[in-house]
Symmetry: C2
Subunit: 337 residues, 2 copies
């Protein structure tokens, strides 16, 4: 007997999803969802900024640790975060969904609801999509945004390649909370005091759009988002910029709940090596970074955690309180390993 | 023992793919592949046109019928075709790849080579991407292009909703060749005379970019690409426009090789119901459509196959030579069924 999903068919299911996306479906653009492509007016003088991400079940999420609604939220946040990491303004998403054979209609509805909530939280809308069946549920989102007018800013993007010796290194919010949240979920400790801030960081992370734009306006030119893990992402900056980076472990901002529930050592490991936090790392003059912290754009504090050096180019070294190089148990997340 | 793919790791593999993409990697844009997002300058006064597609192994291709290089080509062509169907100019692709557990490094190289060739054939470049592991190989491409300047054309897009009673209906090239090619491959008949035109249509289809643009310039406003199957795609136009469509089976352009190798009945069934041809269907005044055919934009002839009527809105009827409604065995391709 066919499941309700098969009975609905592709086009009815698309209609249903667009309905449930509500205001998150970009209906008042030049060509809204429903034609071969979507079309929208582009602001004169700006650059297009775009990115794509793939999230697959079993790799980026598991059904025993988060719902499809959570996965939908995360897929939106991960993409928007890449635009935030460029200092861009996110505008529209295109959403490709491959539904695994066991997915139910309720789960599809939940996925749409999760994407809707994430779109509202990040002020983006969905301009189009594609839906297919697969053996493995996969969500692919492409995000499109725009830069500030190119003639108005000397450097219209935050780049990985712009770190310079003498720069300080900063990170927004806290890091490691998403990975700590996953451990809390897996250990069935969600009911414990303080767990919710961690599990929420794992299932419903927020991208730092306002901070990225504010960093550019403040004259910063180097930044990226923490998606693979703080050390690995700083490594990307170190290699792209041909510089070394030194981090003081004691300065890395960690959720107190992670320390309370998992202990200081594990919390620090996750802060340095856990991914998917979607905070921003920035480099630049210390006073500019401190002013960003005082402004706390969107309520997001910014912590100074280290410095850019000419030595050991391409390498990130974390120093413990005793001044010894610290070796975390994991150096971040490589999708292929 | 890890395979070479695992040894390589995500970031080395991305470098390798970008290398092998050669000129198809968009290196001279504002932000080329390698940062959080890609960025490029947008032409003033134009609209952005964008689309996304998901192709999954086992659903859109099988490894016994095409290589990963073919799948890469098709993924590019399918996306570019959606922009062609809008009358837009394709510019950049974002490519998400989920590599199945059995994929080898040679197959990844082949995938890159197929995408490179398709990019060259369609004059697009790859601006960025994402690569992950999965249980099921999945290719997701988002294509990004631009319209003609909005102030220069009264109607800057080909839409599905613009068919009007009195319009004639036309289709470019031939239809059903891709589905016929699949049957030839499955029946191990690739060596037979004439087979190559069909198998090539299946594995290396071409999108009709030039024709879409030419149709807009000629004043046409209604069109889409044949991806789900001619009858089903005409059904999309009929429903979006609130009109009926009548097609003369005898007028539908079919590859002679399909008739020769599979017989006239099956060839016609595939022409009406087979998908993935990536030809364009257009509606409009007969004389305009005929002039498009005479111009044969990009060497692509255009055949008049039917008309738009006020009766039976939302319905497509195909008439046989005897004037009887023809019932094909399959009405196109629904991804969920």
């Amino acid at each position: 007997m066919p499941t309700p999903l098969e009975e609905l068919g592709e086009f009815s299911l698309i209609d249903r999803i667009v309905q449930r996306l509500g205001v998150a479906a970009a209906r008042n653009i030049l060509v809204p969802p429903g034609d071969d492509g979507a079309a929208w007016r582009v602001e004169d003088g700006c650059a297009a900024v775009a990115t794509i991400d793939m999230l697959t079940e079993g790799n980026h999420w598991r059904l025993d640790t988060m719902t499809l609604g959570d996965a939908g939220w995360r897929a939106v946040a991960a993409n928007v975060s890449d635009l935030a990491a460029m200092g861009a303004t996110p505008d529209y998403l295109l959403v490709g969904i491959a539904l695994g054979i066991d997915v139910t209609l309720d789960e599809v509805d939940d996925l749409a609801e999760g994407m809707l909530q994430a779109c509202l939280a990040h002020h983006v809308r969905i301009a189009g999509g594609d839906i297919v069946r697969s053996n493995t549920t996969t969500i692919s989102i492409a995000a499109y945004g725009h830069s500030a007018p190119l003639s108005e800013v000397p450097q219209p993007f935050l780049r990985r390649s712009e770190a310079k010796p003498g720069d300080r290194v900063a990170v927004s919010g806290t890091v490691g909370a998403s990975r700590a949240g996953l451990e809390i979920i897996e250990a069935l400790r969600e009911g414990e005091p303080g767990a919710e801030v961690l599990t929420r960081a794992h299932r419903r992370p927020r991208a730092r759009v306002q901070l990225g734009q504010e960093a550019l306006r403040a004259g910063l030119t180097c930044g990226m988002d923490v998606s693979d893990g703080l050390m690995q992402d700083l490594g990307h900056i170190a290699r792209a910029s041909g510089v070394g980076i030194e981090v003081a472990a004691a300065a890395v901002p960690i959720e107190q709940a992670a320390v309370d529930l998992l202990g200081a050592d594990i919390a620090l490991d996750y802060a340095l090596g856990g991914g998917e936090d979607f905070e921003l790392v920035l480099t630049g003059p210390g006073d500019v970074l401190k002013r960003l912290d005082q402004a706390a754009t969107g309520g997001t504090p910014v912590s100074l955690i280290g410095r850019v050096v000419a030595e050991h180019p391409g390498e990130v070294i974390v120093f413990s309180d005793e001044g010894q190089p610290y070796e975390p148990t994991r150096r971040g997340w490589d999708q292929l390993r």
